[in-house]
């Protein structure tokens, strides 16, 4: 069992109506997406009205580089990493999204292979 992990999130998923939308950082290209902690629906930016992407054949690829967003070294983004995400900062400053800190639902493969 992996330890409880901090996850920054911005509200809840409109598809499953339960999962927090965590900020997930691709371990390969460092792209950050919004990932539902419950149903794996993914949004590339703050436009949550847009249709989400879903996992395919058990894989959840990064929309930019196609690396797995689930497998290590992808992970929940840290506060510092989020500072660099322009679309996120704009949405927060514009009052569109509110950043909160919580505990992630799922075991994170990245954390099992020793955190950086």
């Amino acid at each position: 069992m992996s330890a409880k992990q901090t996850m920054y999130y911005v509200g809840f998923c409109r598809v499953c109506k339960t999962g927090p939308l965590g900020l997930r950082r691709c371990g390969q290209c460092e792209n950050v997406v919004l990932l539902c902690d419950e149903c794996d629906a993914t949004w590339s930016n703050a436009d949550l009205a847009a249709p989400p992407q879903y996992a395919k054949d058990g894989e959840l690829p990064c929309p930019k580089c196609k690396a797995s967003l689930v497998e290590s070294p992808s992970h929940w983004a840290t506060a510092e990493q989020l500072q660099e995400i322009d679309w996120l900062q704009e949405a927060i400053n514009g009052g569109l999204l509110e950043l909160k800190q919580g505990i992630a639902f799922t075991p994170d493969a990245a954390d099992e292979s020793s955190p950086p």
Partner: protein, 219 residues
């Protein structure tokens, strides 16, 4: 022996009453007594020599009804058999098998999700996670087979269109099914703040027959 004597006496008394009332001629009575005496004498011998069980006089007259009630055929009990499904479920949950599990209702649980397999993800709803942000639906049962069964029930009911709300989002279909009885409660941060309210709905997310997630829910 003492009891069979009493039975015999009662039998004779009954016969005497019949004679007195005129319903039985005296010579019949004499004949019957002779026959009875002969039977009483012979019975133990016959039992011993033939090895068969012969009734005493009391049995014949029904004065003492010791005949055991015919044994009830034990009704066929549904056996607590360990189903092949249980083995399959265990292989995925315990041994980390990546195989696809097909539920009796036809839902396909495949590998995927951040838990590695959709069945493992489902089982994450067998326990509360009090510090999970928002709501976390928790099934009352902790048994994988029972949880799979209640999800199947919701899926079947959803297909009948009875007490179900259907939403579509791209290739996904989301059912909110009212099962009309308590199936779990709302945990997580928000559920625990509200004293874990009971849930009788299941929210089920599928892509075709592929199971994505399901959990107890309050609409």
């Amino acid at each position: 022996m003492r009891r069979s004597n009493q039975q015999t006496i009662r039998l004779i008394q009954g016969l005497v009453r019949l004679v007195r009332s005129g319903r039985l001629p005296v010579r019949w009575l004499v004949g019957l007594v002779v026959l009875a005496a002969a039977y009483l004498l012979m019975q133990p011998l016959l039992v011993r020599s033939l090895g068969i069980d012969l009734p005493g006089l009391g049995d014949l007259t029904g004065i003492v009804s010791e005949t055991p009630a015919t044994e009830q055929q034990p009704t066929e009990q549904p056996k607590q058999k360990k189903s092949p499904a249980a083995d399959e479920i265990n292989q995925i949950l315990r041994d980390g098998s990546q195989q696809t599990y097909e539920s009796p209702a036809g839902l396909l649980y495949r590998r995927g999700s951040q838990h590695g397999h959709r069945l493992k993800h489902l089982m994450a709803h067998a326990k509360d996670q009090p510090d999970r942000p928002g709501q976390h639906g928790v099934f009352d049962s902790e048994q994988p087979e029972e949880i799979v069964a209640v999800v199947d029930e919701a899926y079947r009911q959803a297909q009948t269109g009875k007490k179900v709300q259907v939403e579509r989002e791209g290739e996904r279909t989301v059912y909110t099914v009212d099962l009309n009885r308590r199936v779990g409660f709302i945990g997580g941060e928000s559920g625990n703040r509200r004293n874990r309210p009971a849930a009788r709905h299941i929210r089920l997310v599928v892509e075709d027959r592929n199971f994505i997630t399901a959990f107890p829910y309050r609409p």
